[in-house]
C-alpha cells in the first residue's frame, strides 16, 4: 500500500491535547482607570479611611520634599522622589494587615514608612550605607530592591511558602512601568499564577523609566492587560485617586487571601519630580505635561472630597500639616547627625561564620585604621 492509499483511510479530528483553559473575559481590565474621588462611588467611601489616607498623603509629600532637600545638603547619596505618586504608596501600605508582607522597589520609601518602618532607617541604603537599616521581619517589609523587578519573585516565593505552611499571609509587590519589561516581572507573574500564590502586584505607571516614556517600553493595550496572558485578573486604576487605589488593592488582597490567587494592578500616575536628584527631566519632557498632572494632584483630589463632604475643616487640615512638619523636622534633625560607621563591620555578615580569607582581610583593614589613628594622633601632638 502506498503512502497516499494509507492517507485515504485517515480521518482528521481535533488535536487530542487541546482544550480551552481559562476564559479571558473576566480577567480583562476596565477600559478606563477606575476612579472613586469626584464620582458617585465617593459617597460610599469610609470617612475614617479617607481621613487616614489624607494624613498619610500630606506626610508623604512632606517626606519627599524633605528627603530631596537632604540630598542637596549631602545627607543622602540619592533620593528617587515619589512626589505625585503618594496615593499609590500610601494605599499600598494601608491595604495590608500587620501579618502581610510588602516588597518595595527603590522609589517606595513612602510605602515603607507608611507601613511603620522608622523614617530614618528606611533611608539607610539611600544614605549610602551598606545595609538596609531596618529588620525586614519587624514590619514585614523586604529591603528596598534596586535591581528592577527582582523583588517580585521574592514576593511570590514568600506568599507561596506562607500558603504551604497554612499561614494567612498576602504579599504585595511594587514595581514601576519600566520594571514590567524585565524578565523577572514575567517570571514572577507566571509563577504566581501557576502556583495560585496569594500575591498582589502593583505597577505604578508613572510614565517614565528615567527618561524613556511608556510608548517605548511596551506595545500592550495597557500594563494591566499583561495579566491576561498569565491567567490572572488585571485591574486598571487612577493612581492619583487614593480611595480608588486603596479599594482596588484591598479587593485584590482579599481575593488572594480567600485563595483566589494573584492580581495585577496598574495604577496610572505621574512622576512629578525628576528620576532622582541627579536627573534632569527637562531633557526629555515638557512643562505642559507636568502641569496637566499637577492639576490632578493626589492630595488636592482627596482634600476636595473631604472638604465637599465636610469631613475636614481648616483646623483639621492644619493639624495634618503640623504633624507632617513635625515628622520632617525630626527627619531633618536625625539625618543631620553623622551616622556611626564602622568599616570593620563590612566583614561581619558576608557569611554566617567569617571565613579565614575574610579574617585576614579584616586584620589588614584593622592595621590600616590603627596606623591612620596613630598618624592622626601624631599630627595632633605636633600641633600642640
Amino acid at each position: 500500500m502506498t503512502v497516499m492509499e494509507q492517507r485515504g483511510a485517515y480521518r482528521p479530528s481535533p488535536p487530542p491535547a487541546w482544550q480551552p483553559r481559562t476564559d479571558p473575559a473576566p480577567l480583562l481590565p476596565d477600559a478606563e482607570p477606575y476612579r472613586v474621588l469626584g464620582t458617585q462611588a465617593a459617597a460610599k467611601a469610609d470617612p475614617d479611611l479617607l481621613r487616614r489616607l489624607y494624613a498619610q498623603l500630606v506626610r508623604g509629600r512632606r517626606y519627599n520634599t524633605q528627603a530631596t532637600a537632604l540630598t542637596k545638603q549631602g545627607r543622602l547619596a540619592v533620593y528617587p522622589s515619589s512626589t505625585g505618586q503618594e496615593a499609590c504608596q500610601v494605599a499600598a501600605a494601608l491595604a495590608l494587615r500587620e501579618r502581610d508582607w510588602l516588597f518595595p522597589s527603590y522609589r517606595d520609601t513612602l510605602a515603607v514608612v507608611a507601613r511603620g518602618v522608622d523614617p530614618v532607617e528606611a533611608l539607610t541604603l539611600l544614605r549610602g550605607d551598606w545595609h538596609c537599616g531596618y529588620d525586614p521581619h519587624t514590619h514585614r517589609v523586604a529591603p528596598l530592591s534596586t535591581p528592577l523587578a527582582t523583588q517580585l519573585p521574592h514576593a511570590v516565593g514568600l506568599a507561596h511558602a506562607a500558603r504551604l505552611k497554612g499561614d494567612d499571609v498576602v504579599a504585595l509587590a511594587l514595581v514601576g512601568d519600566g520594571g514590567t519589561s524585565e524578565g523577572d516581572f514575567h517570571e514572577a507573574l507566571n509563577f504566581a499564577a501557576v502556583w495560585q500564590a496569594p500575591v498582589v502586584f502593583l505597577v505604578q505607571n508613572n510614565g517614565f523609566a528615567i527618561s524613556v516614556p511608556l510608548a517605548k517600553q511596551t506595545a500592550a493595550p495597557s500594563l494591566a492587560h499583561k495579566a491576561v496572558g498569565y491567567g490572572m485578573p488585571g485591574r486598571l486604576v487612577d493612581g492619583n485617586d487614593a480611595a480608588a487605589v486603596h479599594e482596588v488593592l484591598s479587593d485584590a488582597v482579599q481575593h488572594a487571601r480567600a485563595g483566589g490567587g494573584p492580581t495585577l494592578v496598574e495604577a496610572v500616575t505621574y512622576r512629578i519630580d525628576a528620576h532622582t536628584n541627579a536627573d534632569d527631566a527637562t531633557r526629555y519632557r515638557g512643562d505642559t505635561e507636568v502641569e496637566a498632572w499637577r492639576a490632578h494632584d493626589p492630595i488636592e483630589l482627596l482634600e476636595a472630597e473631604l472638604t465637599a463632604r465636610g469631613l475636614i475643616d481648616e483646623a483639621g487640615k492644619e493639624a495634618v500639616r503640623q504633624d507632617a512638619e513635625e515628622m520632617a523636622a525630626s527627619l531633618r534633625a536625625r539625618m543631620n547627625r553623622d551616622p556611626e560607621l564602622d568599616p570593620m563591620a563590612l566583614f561581619d555578615h558576608v557569611y554566617a561564620e567569617t571565613t579565614a580569607q575574610l579574617r585576614e582581610q579584616r586584620a589588614l583593614l584593622r592595621a590600616e585604621l590603627d596606623a591612620e589613628q596613630e598618624q592622626h594622633g601624631e599630627r595632633e601632638g605636633g600641633a600642640r
Binding site: 538596609c132 521581619h137 519573585p153 516565593g157 507561596h160 511558602a161 509563577f191 557569611y351 554566617a352
Partner: protein, 334 residues
C-alpha cells in the same frame, strides 16, 4: 575505621539519598526545579522524592531559572530551606542576577537578620558527550561572588556529605555536581553514611612526596590515574581534593605544597580567569620559599566548550598532567 560490607553505590544515588534524608529530617527542606517531580530530574537525582514527600515538597516549576531561584529567595525569607536544581551548568545563567544581587547578599544587606539558606545544585563539567550548553565549567563565576559557598564533590561519600552540609548551612551554597561522576561507583553504605570533612576543608586523596596535584570534582579521578602512571617515571605524586572552592582551605593546600615543594593545579575550567590562577597565586604568596618550581596549571583551553567529538582534546588528561609534572624543574634535584 570499621569495615562494613557494602554494595557499590553511584554518586547520583548518594545525592538522591542525601536529599531524601534531608527532607525526612527537616520539613522545611523543599526541592524545586525543572523536571524534578515525576521524571526525577534529567539525571534522576530527585528520583522518588515527589512520590514520597508530595509535590509541595518536590516541585516541578515553570521553565525559568531566574524565577526558580527568585521564588526560592522568597521561600527562604519565610523560613524554608529550598534546594534548587539547575538542570545543566549553562542553564543556570539566567538565574545569575538573583544569585549575585540577592542570594549572595541578603544576609549582609540585612546585617544577618535575613539569611538565605538556599542550596543551588548545578550539574557541571564535560566528558559526557553533551551538545553545546551542556558541559560548561562555571565554577569561576560562582567563586567570584562574595557571600556564596561553592563546593564540589569528587567521591560518593562526599556527594552525600557535602550536600547534607550544604542543605544544613544557613548560608547559600552552590553545589557543583560533576556530571561525568554521577555514575561513578564506590563502596558506600547509604544506611550508615560516613562523616566527611566539613565544607571549607580540602582532603589529601593520595599521599606522595614528589609534587602535589591540586584538583577538585571531575578532575580528581584523572589526577589519581596520572599519579599511578607517574610511578613509572619515578614520581610519587600527592593528590589533593579541594572539595570546597569557597571557603578555600589555604591551610591544607599550603601544608601539602610545603611538603612536596611542587604543585600543579588541574581543572576543566578555562585557564585564563579560571580558579587555577587564584589557587596558584595563593600558593605562591604563602609558600614561595618552599617552592622548587613555579606553580603550573593544567586547565581547559580558553575556548567555548568544544563539541562532543572534540572534547577529549580539551579536557585535561593524564598525558597533559604528566607533561606539566615533567616541567617542574627537576634538573635542580640533580
Amino acid at each position: 575505621m570499621t569495615t562494613v560490607a557494602v554494595k557499590p553505590a553511584t554518586m547520583a544515588q548518594a545525592l538522591t539519598r542525601a536529599l531524601r534524608d534531608a527532607m525526612a529530617a527537616d520539613p522545611t527542606v523543599h526541592v524545586m526545579g525543572e523536571d524534578v517531580g515525576a521524571l526525577g530530574g534529567v539525571f534522576r537525582v530527585t528520583d522518588g522524592l515527589a512520590k514520597e514527600f508530595g509535590e509541595d515538597r518536590c516541585t516541578d516549576t515553570p521553565l525559568a531559572e531566574a524565577g526558580i531561584l527568585g521564588t526560592a529567595v522568597g521561600m527562604a525569607m519565610y523560613g524554608l530551606r529550598p534546594v534548587v536544581e539547575m538542570q545543566f551548568d549553562a542553564f543556570a545563567y539566567p538565574a545569575f542576577e538573583q544569585l549575585i544581587s540577592h542570594v549572595s547578599r541578603m544576609r549582609n544587606r540585612t546585617r544577618g537578620r535575613m539569611p538565605l539558606p538556599i542550596t543551588v545544585r548545578v550539574p557541571y563539567g564535560g566528558g559526557i558527550g553533551g551538545v553545546e550548553h551542556h558541559s560548561d565549567s562555571s565554577e569561576a563565576y560562582y567563586m567570584a561572588t562574595p557571600g556564596l559557598h561553592v563546593v564540589t564533590p569528587a567521591t560518593v561519600a562526599d556527594a552525600y556529605g557535602l550536600l547534607r552540609q550544604a542543605i544544613a548551612s544557613d548560608d547559600p551554597v552552590v553545589v557543583l555536581e560533576p556530571k561525568r561522576l554521577y555514575w561513578s561507583k564506590d563502596a558506600w553504605n547509604p544506611e550508615h553514611p560516613t562523616d566527611v570533612e566539613p565544607i571549607g576543608r580540602a582532603v589529601v586523596r593520595r599521599p606522595g612526596r614528589s609534587a602535589t596535584l591540586v584538583t577538585y570534582g571531575p578532575s580528581l579521578p584523572v589526577c589519581l590515574e596520572a599519579a599511578e602512571a607517574a610511578r613509572a617515571e619515578g614520581w610519587d605524586l600527592e593528590v589533593l581534593d579541594l572539595r570546597s572552592l569557597v571557603p578555600f582551605d589555604d591551610e591544607t593546600v599550603c601544608a601539602a605544597v610545603r611538603r612536596t615543594g611542587r604543585a600543579v593545579v588541574v581543572h576543566e575550567s578555562t585557564g585564563f580567569g579560571g580558579p587555577g590562577g587564584e589557587i596558584a597565586a595563593r600558593i605562591t604568596e604563602r609558600c614561595f620559599h618552599h617552592l622548587e618550581a613555579p606553580v603550573l596549571r593544567v586547565a581547559g583551553f580558553d575556548i567555548p566548550y568544544p563539541p562532543p567529538m572534540l572534547e577529549r582534546h580539551h579536557l585535561p588528561g593524564v598525558d597533559r598532567i604528566l607533561d606539566a609534572v615533567a616541567r617542574l624543574q627537576w634538573e635542580a634535584e640533580g
